[in-house]
Amino acid sequence: MTTSELGHQIRLVLNEGGTLPVDATTLKDGDDLYAAGLTSHATVNLMLGLEERFDVEFPDRLLRRRTFESIDAISAAVTELLASKKAA
């Protein structure tokens, strides 16, 4: 999956769950999602949406603020999880 495709898929997840009070397609990859209105409660739904879409599991060590702080950060986490799934 290309980086831009990944970013597009993540935006779809963000919009599906109503995770943010704003349209995720208007955000840049590096924008701070917490500043855009992401709450810690919404982070859980976001994670569940990502797990479902990419068929991965987020281990507890990734369940911290920094993992979900931007679309870039989420891309990095999903990329890592997809790679370890492939390796397994």
Binding site: P21, G37, H41, L48, D60, L63, R64
Partner: protein, 386 residues
């Protein structure tokens, strides 16, 4: 025992205990205890040494809450609530000259800080605000319809949560300390309650203005997760543990007196007492372990944002709240009518009434619902001695 703790125990046994009954009966601010706490320089202990405090770690703060809780629940709870505000300023104000100055004043003048987080119109959700910091050049104004500001009328300053700016969403909050002289309070409700009557948690409309530099630079979301919530849950749990410990002490004294009266026989309540001491040990272990975990997590900012950490802190609160009433109820059964009376050396009625506040101050059900959400994401079973 640390020197701090010795000072706290002295204030507890010599001052807070003496006035606990009238504080409770008249639902009044524990003025004598706070004069003594200020005199003993205990209000600023968490301020770093560089700003004139003792740099006391969270374990010391929780220990003082526990020590005071054994004598007057309201005094201990106000002390805890004050320390939560101090912790927010200390942990998140180091990079700001205004807040460093405030720390110096907290240590030097022993200022008492209250908090205005709860607001009418948000359904008890302290993580969203209606009111906002309204900027005008280098100044701001702020008006909050705060349904509760504990000891607001007796505090020297108040930490207020509000939306970061007039156009910010409800969850994008800042926290700003305002000091006496910078705000007015218009009382909207009183505080005639079952227990914790001395916290005087009246409702107020707060109108404040100040310098924009007073707004803590870190977003409230972070301050809340990393400092305010863990400090709240741990210090409160320390208070409840103190209240429960004193109820158990009374039950033990009752059984000892019974045993002395009829030497050679085990008093009927002795087995129940053994069970009570067992429960108290659970409660104690929970508070001590969680306090150590927080202390350790504070050394690495990342750990404080982990969902598993949030669940642990939630659990120490809900668990301690539940156990406090359970333990005291057991102590009541041990003491029988002597415990049920409102007077005499074995009364535990104030303890029981005070402890009932634990489950409703940040309602346990709300916290459990929050944990329930977080647990949807968590998967691992951590190591026993991780």
């Amino acid at each position: 025992m640390t020197l701090l703790l010795a000072r706290a125990r002295q204030v507890g046994s010599e001052v807070a205990a003496r006035h606990a009954e009238s504080v409770d009966r008249d639902a009044r601010f524990p003025r004598e205890a706070f004069d003594a706490l200020k005199q003993a320089k205990l209000l600023g202990i968490a301020v770093p040494r560089a700003q004139g405090g003792d740099g006391a770690p969270i374990s010391d703060i929780v220990a003082v809450c526990h020590a005071l809780g054994q004598h007057c629940g309201s005094t201990a709870m106000i002390f805890a609530m004050h320390q939560i505000q101090v912790a927010c300023v200390v942990r998140h104000g180091q990079d700001s000259a205004w807040h460093r100055k405030l720390m110096e004043r907290l240590a030097g003048e022993q200022l008492l800080l209250a908090s205005a987080t709860t607001e009418a119109g948000v359904g008890g959700d302290v993580r969203s605000s209606v009111c906002a910091v309204e900027r005008k050049g280098k100044r701001f104004t702020l008006q909050k319809n705060a349904s509760v500001i504990s000891y607001g009328a007796d505090a020297d300053g108040i930490l207020v949560t509000a939306r970061r700016a007039a156009d910010a969403p409800a969850s994008d909050q800042s926290i700003v300390p305002v000091l006496k002289g910078e705000y007015t309070l218009e009382r909207t409700s009183g505080w005639d309650t079952l227990g914790m009557r001395g916290t005087c948690s009246d409702g107020f409309v707060l109108r404040a203005s100040g310098d924009i530099a007073q707004v803590l630079p870190t977003p409230y979301a972070e301050i809340s997760a990393q400092t305010m919530l863990p400090t709240t849950h741990l210090t409160w749990a320390g208070v409840w543990l103190g209240i429960a410990s004193d109820a158990v002490s009374r039950a033990r004294a009752f059984i000892r007196a019974e045993a002395r009266r009829k030497p050679g026989t085990t008093p009927s309540g002795a087995v129940r007492l053994a069970e009570t001491v067992n429960l108290l040990q659970f409660m104690r272990a929970n508070v001590v372990a969680a306090t150590r975990d927080y202390q350790r997590a504070m050394e690495q900012a990342e750990a404080l944002t982990a969902l598993s950490f949030a669940v642990e802190m939630n659990n120490v609160k809900t668990g301690s709240a539940q156990m406090a009433t359970q333990v005291i109820n057991h102590a009541l059964l041990v003491c029988g009518l002597a415990g049920y009376r409102n007077d005499g050396p074995y009364t535990v009625t104030r303890h029981l009434r005070d402890a009932h506040s634990a489950a409703v101050m940040i309602n346990n059900d709300r916290i459990l619902a929050n944990s329930a959400g977080l647990l949807l994401a968590l998967k691992d079973e951590p190591e026993l001695f991780a």
